[in-house]
Amino acid sequence: MKRILSTSIVLPAVALFFAAHALLAQSRHPATIRAPALQVVMIQSDEIQLPAEFQVALYENLIRQLEKDGFPNVYRDGDRDATRVAGLVVLHSTVRGFKAGSERARQVTTVSGATSIKVHCQFTNQEGRSLLEQDIVAKVRFFGGNLKATYDFAKKAAHVAHENFFSPQHE
């Protein structure tokens, strides 16, 4: 009786594990676009006047995070070496909106005062043809200054790049 009971619990659990694993594998689609090198263009803000320190923090954190995530060749805006790379992918980021929170409110309540920045990321080839476009919303919810939102953006954008682009050096 005890054996039947344990089997009836273990079997569905194992089946559930394998089903979930198969579903996860399906949703985690492999990187499909070849990117021998990535060039990051300075963050733009057409609709919003973004303070310079925010623009620079987003840009520097993005480059740092892409390098950290294992992209072998990350070039900065204007780098002449990038023009010699065949198949270069260019990342354009445009700030589309922000919701100014309050660090004080975050410190006091830990649930309110979130700051969020919405950035439109467009990956193009050297000719300017769009390869991938995605909006990324970066947030600083609980603790920390607004600088943390720029880290959050960098992390998410690097994740998007990692999910969709692969370097031939990593094949």
């Binding site: 006047q49 303070p51 310079a52 925010f54 607004n146």
Partner: protein, 173 residues
């Protein structure tokens, strides 16, 4: 005797006159400001404390025993926290109603009691870098003036940025 007294008085007058007169090269002494490097300067860790000054057309950031320099000629934009507030503030009236997602409000990276200095500069390959410093309130404006006076560009000046052979270098003292 009278001659002696006169010469003593004349000497004293010369001495005090010399002391009281302002030194001729007082303006050439560069301003040194305690600053925190928030991020961006090549080879310098985030949140490093040091001293910032402009000398010989270079921006020097002295931290510990090391010294990081950026040539003023290759700085293509210098912005203080006050500049940011001003430029964003101009749009508040128009944008706060029209812009979605809170676009008309000013988003500050730091608290307002400190001053920020943000520079954008090119490296030897033309690659764009950005560096952010914080410093005591009021100091960023003076650093910016010194930097612009020694050849740095600002976005408002309309001058094009040049590329440099070795604009940023770090050396150990």
């Amino acid at each position: 005797m009278t001659l002696r007294a006169t010469s003593v008085l004349f000497g004293a007058a010369l001495l005090f006159g010399g002391l009281a007169a302002p030194p001729g090269n007082a303006q050439e002494v560069s301003l040194r400001v305690k600053a925190v490097h928030v991020m961006g300067l090549a080879g310098v860790k985030d949140n490093t404390k040091g001293t910032l000054n402009i000398e010989n057309a270079q921006l020097h950031f002295v931290h510990g025993k090391a010294n990081s320099d950026v040539s003023a000629a290759y700085v293509q934009d210098v912005v203080t926290g006050a500049d940011s507030r001003e430029s964003v503030g101009k749009t508040v009236g128009m944008m706060s109603m029209a812009a979605p997602y809170g676009g008309g409000r000013f988003l500050s990276l730091f608290r307002t009691k400190i001053d920020t200095l943000t520079i954008q500069y090119r490296d030897s390959n033309g690659g764009l870098h950005g560096a952010i410093f914080t410093m005591p309130a009021g100091a960023a404006d003076r650093i910016k003036k010194d930097l612009v006076a020694q050849g740095a560009h600002t976005a408002g000046s309309g001058e094009s940025a040049r590329t440099a052979p070795t604009p940023n270098k770090e050396r150990k003292q």
